[in-house]
């Protein structure tokens, strides 16, 4: 699981159980959920249980997982339960077991063995395409479409003349979507918002997901079937780049989607009537995470970012000077969000991180963490050799500049109080801590504050059911 899919996971988690059930009927969806939504330990647990003949007793699972990995276990199980993949069942008064949801298990088995006749991994075209396009073309297409979106967003802020022009090609539907997702606000021209900045600094993969989730949320309003949309997205993730696929098996919703996705650059269709479509790299990496993108064998970033140096292009020195080997306007625009750029050469821009530039970015709603993440993710290969990647002084200073402005931190959440006894309080504190939702506690007053309540309430209900534990 990676940062790029966290938001997708959050979206999935809040879906009702019935939707989950319907989603899991497609083996491709089950596989995609397994591949990119589950924490690593959860995958291990699911796979171990997949061909197990009976349910997995709770105490067996406890024995299997090391005591010092309790937090990871709780996390894994809570994700599995919230996605309705696994549930606790009571076999006898004292024996509790985990059981995989049968729909999910069957679909995953089918995905692994290639059994059944669900045709959910995409139906390739049986006839060869007269005007077949190659991978390079697809990459270029995807880059053009996606960068147009980014230019559109960043256009007004960066002050670069060209970018606004480049952003003009963005379709109306997409513009609307960006507005609905509150990435931009259109009052007097396009203005990028706080969410928009966050969006910009993300990995491409995460950007795609962010946009798609907005899309998903709008889907019911547009008369589209949420399950159809989701399973189509997951199917796209399992397709082969460079292969043409037939539209014959798609539902009406999915056909409608194809158009929008074509706009985003996620799939390529020659025309709206064409009976075939090509997934682009944006699609085929949907269900991969950052690890796959950094895989040395893919030149994904190369293709997408048009930077000649490959994955990374930024060099930062301990004296806050920044050198970016790039000629891409977009990258320069992004950099100028938080750096004071001074010189531009044909393949290089140089500048400096200053207190002003960073605080200006923070004023726009960009977090120090995001800046650091962006810089280290795009660090030049020579910088990648260092550990940590960025000079520690620079990282610390960026954070300090941020802290200057914020002395108060607010968290929305739930205050839990009035515990019957101390052990009850401690138990819940420990559980919340292991889930990582505990924000604050006071042992003296037996109060605790959590930022998420779902698992806690689930836990409390379970506990009520099981008085012995």
């Amino acid at each position: 699981m990676s940062a790029s899919t966290t938001q997708a996971l959050e979206y999935l988690e809040q879906l009702p159980g019935a939707t989950h059930k319907r989603l899991y009927q497609q083996p491709s969806t089950a596989l995609a959920v397994f591949r990119c939504m589950l924490p690593h330990l959860a995958k291990t647990i699911v796979m171990a249980m997949l061909y197990m003949t009976g349910p997995f007793p709770v105490h067996d699972l406890d024995a299997w997982i090391r005591t010092d990995a309790k937090a990871e276990k709780e996390k894994a199980i809570s994700v599995l339960e919230s996605l309705n993949i696994m549930a606790v069942i009571q076999e006898s008064p004292k024996n509790f077991s985990y059981r995989l949801s049968s729909g999910f298990a069957n679909s995953l088995k089918q995905a692994l063995t290639g059994g059944g006749n669900h045709r959910s991994f995409g139906v390739p075209c049986s006839t060869p395409d007269k005007n077949k396009v190659d991978i390079a073309f697809l990459d270029q297409f995807a880059r053009k479409q996606w960068e147009a979106i980014l230019y559109y967003m960043v256009g007004s802020t960066s002050g670069l003349r060209d970018s606004e022009v480049l952003g003009q090609s963005v379709g109306n539907g997409t513009r609307q979507l960006l507005r609905m997702g509150e990435f931009v606000s259109v009052l007097h021209g396009v203005k990028i918002t706080k969410t928009g900045f966050t969006f910009l600094l993300q990995e491409v993969n995460a950007q795609v997901w962010s946009l798609l989730i907005v899309y998903l949320k709008q889907a019911p309003g547009l008369g589209m079937n949420e399950v159809d949309v989701l399973s189509f997205l997951f199917m796209l993730g399992s397709l082969e780049l460079g292969q043409d696929y037939s539209t014959a098996n798609l539902t009406a919703t999915q056909l409608q989607m194809l158009e929008d996705l074509n706009d985003f650059g996620i799939v390529y269709r020659r025309s709206k009537e064409s009976s075939r479509f090509y997934p682009t790299r944006l699609a085929t990496t949907l269900t991969s995470d950052a690890g796959a993108l950094q895989n040395a064998t893919t030149d994904f970033d190369n293709a997408l970012r048009s930077s000649r140096a490959g994955r990374g292009y930024i060099i930062i020195e301990t004296n806050y000077r920044i050198y970016a080997y790039t000629s891409s306007l977009l990258q320069i625009a992004v950099l100028s969000l938080f750096a004071k750029l001074s010189t531009r050469f044909p393949n290089l821009v140089s500048g400096k991180l200053t207190k002003d530039s960073i605080q200006k970015a923070i004023g726009h709603g960009i977090e120090a963490r995001q800046i650091i993440d962006y810089l280290s993710a795009h660090a030049h290969p020579q910088m990648q050799k260092n550990n940590p990647v960025l000079p520690p002084t620079v990282m610390d200073q960026i954070r300090l500049w941020e802290y200057e402005g914020e002395r108060i931190d607010t968290t929305n959440g739930y205050l839990m109080k009035d515990f019957n006894n101390d052990s009850e309080y401690r138990d819940l504190v420990n559980y919340a801590e292991s889930l990582g939702v505990l924000t604050w506690k006071s042992d003296a007053k037996r109060l605790l504050f959590v930022d998420r309540i779902e698992q806690i309430s689930q836990y409390l209900t379970n506990k009520k059911k099981r008085p012995d534990q």
């Binding site: 997982i65 650091i372 990648q384």
Partner: protein, 371 residues
């Protein structure tokens, strides 16, 4: 609350676990599989293995797999299919283009289908090219060769995965193998492990090369997992133990799939959170260098640490390093001495009529009644 803590500087550039490379060595010794055919035919085992490989690939998006057949006399790549060095194409590591067309199937996740096709076709080639005469020559398998192949493949993959892009500066990557230990500590870009699905016994005659491979794996921190369906255990159990892998000898081989999915699927990242199955007691005996026998007590050359099972070496010289090694003068005495000296001893009291030995009625045989 606003303290700047040095510990959170370590921002991981990649979230989630590093990709995991699983090198599977499938022991395809035809003798052993024929022997096992009533319990677990090779075809079923391969099918289970394919499901397992799919599960592995699904467990991590960048996960990779390499499958090597350790046949009776040679090792054979099953996946990726090695591309023959041709003047035109630079050899790529995953040459699925080399094996013809992958059948289109909308029910199968395409990466799974690619690997499945490659493995099956390569395995077919291997079995078809096996002749009866080559089988009669040996009854075991080329495990040492397969291990070395796997290790070299892994180390090649490590270089490919190292954070420095190999295409940018070739010179630095060439030197990385030396500094691998240091680099590996800094950032794990790839975790690897080897799984040996073993059916053959009689591996002791490859003791030395296998041991060398084990030590290489140990140094590179590559665990070697063993799934032992048949055959004796000595050597491979040591491989597991030395490298921190999982050893398992299934009691019911028919359940192979479940063994694989539960016992062997967790990669290095997952294993940190799991209690690994115990291998039981490990047989640490070594095989001697002279007869390849597994020995309880042997003789060790003080210069090169070669092990011998007999003290009478030709010319009193170590077979491996030619150093003078007079086992016959010193070491032969002790073991041979027990009976001989004891004989003397018993005779001694007998002759001198001292009460010790002979006057006591058979103390040895009498012991049960004593107690």
């Amino acid at each position: 609350m606003n303290a700047i803590d040095a510990t959170d500087r370590h921002i991981k550039s990649t979230d989630g676990p590093p990709p995991s490379l699983l090198a599977i060595i499938l022991d395809t010794n035809p003798h052993a599989w024929a022997h096992l055919s009533s319990i677990l035919p090779l075809s079923k085992a391969v099918a289970s293995l394919l499901v397992f490989i799919n599960a592995h690939l699904a467990s991590g998006n960048a996960n990779e797999v390499a499958v090597i057949a350790s046949h009776s006399q040679r090792t054979h790549w099953l996946y990726p299919t090695p591309t023959l060095p041709t003047p035109h194409s630079t050899s790529t590591s995953n040459g699925h283009d080399a094996n013809g067309t992958v059948p289109e199937n909308a029910n199968k996740y395409r990466p799974f289908a690619v690997i499945e096709t490659a493995i099956l076709s390569n395995l077919t080639t291997l079995l078809n090219s096996t002749t009866a005469s080559s089988l009669s020559a040996t009854s075991t398998t080329q495990i040492s060769g397969a291990l070395s192949t796997a290790l070299s493949y892994i180390s090649k993959s490590h270089i490919r995965h190292s954070p420095v892009d190999p295409t940018i500066n070739d010179h630095s990557t060439i030197t990385t193998p030396d500094t691998d230990g240091i680099l590996g500590q800094q950032r794990v870009s790839l975790t690897s492990r080897i799984l040996i699905l073993s059916v053959s016994g009689d591996l002791a005659n490859q003791y030395i090369p296998v041991m060398n491979a084990i030590f290489a794996a140990q140094r590179q921190r590559i665990p070697i997992d063993i799934l032992k369906l048949a055959g004796d255990t000595v050597l491979l159990q040591q491989a597991c133990d030395a490298t921190g892998g999982i050893y398992m000898a299934p009691e019911s081989p028919q359940g192979l799939l479940q063994y694989l999915m539960m016992g062997f699927l967790p990669d290095a990242t997952a294993r940190r959170a799991l209690v690994l199955p115990s291998a039981g007691s490990v047989d640490f005996r070594a095989a001697c260098f002279c007869h390849r026998k597994v020995v309880d007590i042997g003789y060790v050359c003080s210069v090169c640490l070669s092990i011998f099972c007999i003290p009478s070496l030709p010319d009193s010289k170590c077979l491996t390093c030619d150093s003078h090694l007079s086992l016959s003068t010193t070491l032969t005495v002790t073991p041979a001495l027990i009976p001989r000296k004891k004989k003397k001893r018993k005779r001694g009291p007998g002759e001198s009529a001292t009460p010790a030995g002979s006057s006591t009625p058979a103390p040895g045989s009498g012991t049960p009644t004593h107690s």
